[in-house]
Structure formats: structure tokens, C-alpha cells
């Protein structure tokens, strides 16, 4: 076996039959560790790289395990018949996969070399040379852009957005991947038509963007904060209404001229 398949990384979940995130039926591998600390994050257990304990339905559960690329691929391979029939494949998610660049890259490479389609959900929050090394193994970049205003971005996620926006341009210009822009729509943060339009305008400037996805905020992660003994700062925020999402979709489409969909 080739050495790169022995690369170790830390994941906290593998989810099969994912049908709301990208093409076809996919297997999502969730990598542990993130550079941001978004207040609305629905996977708070993904943020720390360290292995943690979380209470789930009254029971203590260890979150995070170290695995090799080979081990993950064994699980990914199990659903090959479904990828084949649906045009699906492997998706990396997190956390931010780029926090474990070698593992993420080698995982994508292993999939690619076995003929499995690859996608990655990421904020592109890393030095570009790190991203560049991964691109040859990636079919579809699902790139998060949360806000155009650096200050507000910092306030709600813990970091400014310049590096990510710059990387978005470079990724688009590379022409090596299909590119979709994903915008989490979070009330009180970015859910005004104006804010969405700004992101849409940016997406328009990037070349090769295939689609914009508006992902409505949901509260399904709330219990996990309790499970981790953390306070959920968004308790009082309600998910955006279907009508409002529709308005934002129209706004984003008008601004960008790109196809836009609600949901993954």
C-alpha cells in the first residue's frame, strides 16, 4: 500500500447517504478542528481539534478519533454502488478541512485515484499554497462566504474575511475545480437583502461559479452546546421564514445572474 494512505487525521463523524449536500448520494467525512468560531455553528463539537466528551441523549460520548486515510476509505468504498448510480461520492466537511491539510489532501487523492468523485465544504481559510496542493484531487469546491464586511465577520466568527475572499478569487481563477458558493443565512448577522446581494455580487466577479446556495439557519445543533457544557448564544434567534428565503434567492439571482438554490 502506498504511504500516503497511511496519513493520519482526526475526524468526528462519517455520515453516509447524505443527499442534501452536493451531487448524488454522498458520504460526508467530518474533520475535527476549525479556524472560526461561528456563533451559529451547528457542529460545535467540530471546532476544537482536541478529542472531547459530549453528552448525547444522557450518555457521555467521545467526540473525535484518529484514523488513517486507508481506514476512512474502507468506509467510503462501501457505498460505491450508490455513487455510481447517482453521481455521488466523497465530501469533506468539518470543521475546516484545511486545518488538517495533509490528511484532507491525501483523503481526496485516495478517493480520486479510486475513481470516486470528491467535494469539499470549506471556508478556504488557509494559506493558498496549502489549498493549491489539494485542488488537483478535488472535483467540487463548496465554498462558504458568510459576509463581505470584515468587521462584522470578525465579530460573529472570530476572524476577518480578507484571506478567504482572496483565496476564493484564486481558486476560481485556477479553473481546476467546479465552484459553488454557499451562504449560511443567519438572522441578525447576514439575512438582509443588502448583505446577501453583496456576497452575490462578489460571486459574480469570481469566474466559473456554478451556483449559489442559500442555507437557511437551523437550530438542530442547539442540544450539542448543552452536551458540551457551552452556552448557545443564538437561543432567541428564529430560523428565517420560507418567504424571506425566497426573497433573498430572488435578490441573489438578480445581483449575480447565477442560478441560486435554497438548501444544499
Amino acid at each position: 500500500m502506498e504511504d500516503y494512505r497511511q496519513t493520519k487525521g482526526r475526524i468526528f463523524d462519517i455520515q453516509k447517504f447524505s443527499i442534501h449536500d452536493g451531487d448524488g448520494i454522498r458520504t460526508i467525512v467530518f474533520l475535527k478542528g476549525c479556524v472560526l468560531r461561528c456563533r451559529w455553528c451547528c457542529n460545535p463539537e467540530s471546532q476544537e481539534y482536541a478529542v472531547q466528551t459530549m453528552t448525547v441523549a444522557g450518555e457521555e460520548r467521545t467526540i473525535g478519533r484518529d484514523v488513517t486515510v486507508e481506514e476512512v476509505m474502507k468506509t467510503v468504498e462501501q457505498d460505491r454502488p450508490y455513487y455510481y448510480r447517482s453521481g455521488g461520492g466523497l465530501t469533506l466537511s468539518g470543521g475546516e478541512s484545511l486545518c488538517q491539510p495533509e490528511f484532507a489532501g491525501n483523503l481526496l487523492r485516495a478517493a480520486k485515484e479510486s475513481g470516486i468523485n470528491t467535494a469539499m465544504e470549506s471556508m478556504a481559510c488557509a494559506q493558498y499554497d496549502v489549498i493549491e496542493r489539494i485542488l488537483p484531487y478535488l472535483d467540487h469546491y463548496l465554498l462558504d462566504i458568510k459576509h463581505m464586511n470584515p468587521a462584522k465577520h470578525r465579530e460573529y466568527t472570530g476572524r476577518s474575511n480578507e484571506l478567504m475572499l482572496e483565496n476564493a478569487k484564486k481558486i476560481a481563477r485556477s479553473g481546476q475545480v467546479r465552484l459553488s458558493i454557499r451562504i449560511p443565512v443567519i438572522p441578525t448577522f447576514n439575512d438582509s437583502a443588502e448583505e446577501i446581494r453583496e456576497i452575490a455580487a462578489y460571486a459574480k466577479e469570481l469566474v466559473h461559479v456554478e451556483k449559489i446556495h442559500l442555507l437557511p439557519y437551523h437550530r438542530l445543533g442547539q442540544d450539542k452546546y448543552d452536551g458540551l457544557g457551552r452556552e448557545y448564544e443564538m437561543k432567541d434567534i428564529l430560523p428565517p421564514s420560507a418567504e424571506h428565503m425566497q426573497e433573498l434567492k430572488v435578490a441573489a439571482e438578480a445581483e449575480s445572474g447565477l442560478p441560486c438554490q435554497i438548501g444544499g
Binding site: 447517504f17 443527499i19 448524488g24 457505498d79 450508490y82 448510480r85 453521481g87 455521488g88
Partner: protein, 845 residues
Amino acid sequence: MGLYQYEIADVKKTDRIDRLIANLFAKMPEIESARARLITESYQRTEAEPMIIRRAKAFVHILENIPIIIREDELVVGSSTIAPRGCQTYPEFSYEWLEAEFDTVAGRSADPFYISEEAKREIKEADRYWKGKTTSELATSYMAPETLTAMEHNMFTPGNYFYNGVGHVTVQYEKVLAIGFEGIRAEAEQLLAACDMGDGDYARKSRFLQAVILSCDGVIAYARRYARLAEQMASQCGDAARKAELLQISANCQKVPAKGAETFYEACQSFWFVQQLLQLESSGHSISPGRFDQYMYPYYERDRKRGTLSREFAQELMDCIWVKLNDLNKCRDAVSAEGFAGYSLFQNLIAGGQNGDGVDVTNDLSFMCIQASMHVQLPQPSFSVRVWNGSPHEFLIKAAELTRTGVGLPAYYNDEVIIPALVSRGLTLQDAREYNIIGCVEPQKAGKTEGWHDAAFFNMCRPLELVFSQGMDRGVQVGIKTGPVEEMQDFEEFYNAYKEQMNYMIKLLVNADNAIDAAHAQRCPLPFLSCMVDDCMKRGLSVQEGGAVYNFTGPQGFGVANMADSLYAVKTLVFEEHKATLKEFKEALATNYGKGLTKEMIGDMTARIAAGLKAAGQEIGEKEVAVIMKTVIEASELPAVKEKGERLLKLIEEVPKFGNDIPEVDAFARDVAYTYTRPLQEYKNPRGGIFQAGLYPVSANVPLGAQTGATPDGRLAGTPVADGVSPSAGKDVNGPTAAANSVARLDHFIASNGTLFNQKFHPSALSGREGLEKFVALIRAYFDQKGSHMQFNVVSRETLLDAQKNPEKYKHLVVRVAGYSALFTTLSRSLQDDIINRTEQGFNY
């Protein structure tokens, strides 16, 4: 590319269809007495005649005299009862259960029926004649005593054919459509003329052919009664439009099914009389229309080319037939009603697939069949689609749209498994390619097969209970005496004991089925049915006597997942990890893991102890029994017992389970399924055919689970057994793809009587075109791995819970039960719970 072009634009439902449905479901179904009275009258007059002639004469007597009705708004006519969704009774098969349940049948939880005092009186009067004359009584007298004991102890249940007609057949509808019963009658005449008085089979053959001729005449006469009634109604009808409809109905019934059909409308009416009257001749259910889209197509195509038929009217006629299929009904005994819950008649109608040459023959009507099921949203017909590597994608997408409505239809069948499986059972490749599905999941070649497809329920869990008790059940030696389980040295020994108990029970099951088979041949040969199945006429034998080209008996096993998980848990915990002993398992099972005993368990243990004491010379009266019972209950509730049970359950919990894409466990499950499928296929039936296993439960996994003690997979006593080949409820935790991969690892070819795999999806999984695409891909991928059947419930858990609370709001909510769909609110509470608890897939974040 298939053979035919098709239009796929949707056709709208007409108001007529809504009205027909509203009328049909306005009242509780009713039991009527006319058939019971008429058949008895006829039988009393024909006692000296050959049985086949008596059957034909009785059938004709019924056809000539049973009350008939044309319901409001109907375009296709023919009703077996005056009351909508009513049923007749069939005392020639069995009757005692109905009399015993006269006063409870309207109030029972599963499939209640109203019955009037007048009907009760008439049925009771008729029944007096039948004492000692029924198929069930004759069958009982043919069975070995060991078999009767095993049945008393619920080891298996051949109840279906034991108490009812066989049904489970698809006839040559295409032949009736083409030449009518006058044509079939002429064939019989010709064959009769060719019978030589010196032939060895003259007696049998000539009488059989005469019976066919009588039956054909009877059916023609019956249709003409409708022609006259329609004409009469037309003459009194003030509404010009309805009057014209009635006159057309009259003309149709005058012509078909006597003669061949020339238009699509005539073909619809002709089809319906066959479908209806097969179910008046005998009480067998699962009389399946089969490949309706194929045999109806020539009539549709011709009318369309001539420009005499609009797609809209063709759709309306089909919708009318779909509604009519829900007009037929059957009352079963209370226990069977639980096993077949939902007033289901399992009239399986299938669309799509290949012709005998292997060419895809999906056509316009295939799409319109899907449309009809969307329009009526009713459990009948049990609608199925055939899927193969060459199926048109749009056809499957359209089928998925139907799935998305939540009606539990269609069921999907894999040609790539079923065709070779049938060939392995002796069908020609051409015949195998033309298969359709009977009842729940059972494939056969229409018009050539007597498949006895639903021959019994065999609960694979019960033989394992016998391993722990050395073959004893409630103090009686029911199984064979395998060694004391505590002393078994390795897993092989334990597994072999299970196989020995299985083999023995399978033999008894065969004994039961063959006894019933012989009884049907002797007492209830069916000439009308037989004239539409090859080679009955040529051989001069009814299907019951072995006249069909292909003969099978297909009893279905269930509980594969429970047994796989149970045996794997014993193997792992006792013999590999040494964390528990068989003695501990035995105690835990006997005490239901300390979770409280069921009534059956208390009774069983009390009986056993009492028998032991009696053998030791003690007097055992009622008082002593009460003391024993109290001791049994108290002993099972001791803290130490609870603690031990809890410990073992925790250990079992950790052992990997079937349904999670773990190759080692799945391979093991495959082997466990062979303990049923392999020994069974060594046996023969009296019609010269072989036994072939199915792996599906109808809905019997719930009531029969209630009679099953705790099992080593951690399943508690009295709870449902796993349905079909599906993983145990809640044990498949890695999503639908993992479950499907595991199930595909079973051998679906050897289970050539059909396997059944249930999945439940939240509606969100199928949203949008993208959702449909992914759903179809899931089916395709399961089928790529040689799964045979797949069916889905697409109803949210919240909806089902709400329906339990407010049944009146959900009168029409149809769900997939197991191999068929049923009205949710008519199911018993326990079956409703079982459906709610099936693992729900596809709502992931």
C-alpha cells in the same frame, strides 16, 4: 430503447373518481349471505355427481341468482355484494370461525365487518350443511399428529389455505380479451369431442371439460344480467349523460366477456368480470391482475390509432378499475385478520419490464397505471413496477413520484434477480422474462402456474426457543430432543441443534401444506379458474389437481434478522469472548431478561412445573396451579434476575448487528437464511412441484411475534419479529445504504418465492427532481447488488403519530405494511406501532 413510444404528460383525475371513492368508503364493510345460501342449495342437489361438476354447477347457481347492482357513477360494472366493499362467505373452505365471531366481528380492531341479524341467520342455516365437508376438516384429517401439535404451539401457521381458497394466481386475461368465453368454451368442446371413451383419463378429463363449459356459460349469463340491468336503469334515468353511459355499459356487458373485446372500454369490462368472478368462485386472495399494461395495450393502441379513444377517457376507465379493485373484500378470522391487516386482497398489478424476448416493453399504459394509483390513492391494486438495467429512466422517476405521495406504492422488483431465479426453478427463459408478481412479492409466469405462494408463515425464531428447551413447549415435546443447551461445547454444536430443530419443523410444515393441498384437490377444484391456466384443459385437470405447467409451494420464513443477530450474539459472547454462558442465556430468555413475563411465558412455565410435579406423583389441582403461577411470577421479578438480564442485554447491545454493512455479520446472516431456504427446496408437493422459500412476513411478524418468547438478540418476548429480510427495527443505525448493502448480501436467488425489504423515508428525502433522482439511484444501486424487492413508506413519524391520535382525520391514509399497502387507521394498534418504529431514513444534518 424500448419497443414502444410513450407519452408521459399527466392526465387529470375526474370528479367521478372522487365520487366513486367517497361512496365506496362511506360505511363499514358488510358481510352478505347470498353466496353461502346459494352454494349450499346447489351442493344439496348434486351430491351424487363428480366434485368438479358440483363445483361448476354451484358456481353457475350463484352467478344466476346472486343479487347484482350497478353503483352510482360506475363505468365498469360487476359487484359481488350489494354493500360497497362487502364480502360473501365461503363455507366450503371453513365456516366455524365466522359463526364463533359473529358477535365480535364488527367490533374487532383489525378489519371489522358489519353483519346483519338476517345474514347471520342465513349463514348459520347454510353452515349446518357443511359439517364434515370442508377443505379444512379434510386437511386436518390428512395431517400427521406431530404436525397438528406443532401448529397448536404456533411453530408455523398455514392458516391461509387451511381456512380459505388458494387464490394467488394470475390467469390468461389476454385470452379472454381476445376470444371471450365463447372462444374458451369452443376449445373445451373441441377437446371434449376428442376424448375417447376408451381413454384411461376419460372420466376425469371429460367431466372437467364439461365443468369448464358450464362455467363459461354461467359467466356469460352473469354479464348479460348486468346488460339487462343497465338497460333497465337507462330507461328510468332522467339524466341524459348517465343514460348514455348506462346504455354503453349494457352494450359492453352484452358483448363481453362472451366475445372478444374490440375496444379498450370493452377490454376493461371484460378484464373486470374475470377479476371479480375469480373471487366469487373461491375465497382465495391475491388474485393478481399481473401485467395489465401489457395485455391491455393492443386495445388501447388500436383505439388510439383509430382516433376513437382519448387518453383522458382511457385514464378515467383505468381509474374506475383501480377503485373497483377496492370494492372486493374478504372477511378473515380474527387472528388471520391481524396477519393480513388492512382489508387487503393483495391484487398485485405490475407495470414495466421485458417481454419474452428480453426487450423492454414499458408503454403508455405503464405510465397511466402509475397515474391511476396517484389518482385514487387507495391500497388496491397492490401496485408494482419491474426494474431492470434497461428500464426507461423516466418510468422510474414517475414511479418515484408515486412513492413520494406516501401511499406505499409501488413496490419495486428486480428483473435481474427474479428472472434467473425463476429459470433456476425450471421456467423457460421466455416465461421467466414475462413474470409478474402475485400477492406481496411472489413471482410467477401468468397463466401457467399454480404457485401456492403464500403457503404458510414459518417463524424462524421458534426453533431456537426449542434448542433452549430440548424441544419442549408448554410442557409438550413439540420439537426434537436436542442435547441440554448448558452442556454444548462449541458454537457448531449449538448451531447444529438449531438446524436440527429447523429441519424437523420444516418437515412438519411440508406435511401440513401437502395435507391442505390434497384437500383442495379433492374438495375444491376450480373449473372457472382452471380454464384460464395452461395446461389444465389439455390435461383435463384443474389447477388444484396439478393441471398447471409450473407447480410450486412457497411457504415464507421470517425472522432472518433476529436469528442472525441471535446466533451471532451467542457465537460471540459465549464461544469467542467468553463473556456469557449458554446457561445465562437460557435463564435470561426464560425470565424475559428480567423485564416481566408475558402471559404465554407464565402459562408455559406453570404447565411445565405442574407436569413435573405430577410426574413425581403429586396431586395438582387448581389451587396448586395458582401457587405455582404466583411463584413463577415472583421468581422472575427478583432483583438478581433483573440484574442478570440487564447485564446480558448490555453485552448483546455491543455485538454487531445485521443491517450495518458489516461483511462478517452479513455473511453469517446469509448462512442463517439458508437454514430455512435450503432444506425446504428438497421437498415435493402433491401436484408434482417443489417447495421454494420466500422470506417475507405479510404483517404476521407482529401477531406471531406476540407468540414468540425472548430471543438471544435482546428482543423481548411478545414484541414483533423483524419483517422480511429487513434488519431488526432500530438495529440498522448506519443509514439506508448500509442497510441495503447488508440485505443484498443475503441470497435472494434461492428465496425464489420472493423477499421483502422495507425502508422508511421522511418525505424530505424525496423532495424535488433531485430527490427523485437520488431515490431512484438508491433502488438501482441496491438492485445492482442483487437485491430482489424494495418498498417504501414515505410518511413522517409525526403524521403517523397524529393519525393514531385522530384516526377520523386520516381515514384515507395509506401506508406500506409488508408486501402491500393498507389504510393505516384500520390496522391494529400494535401493527401501527411497528410501522412507526421502523427505522426512518434520510433526514440527516
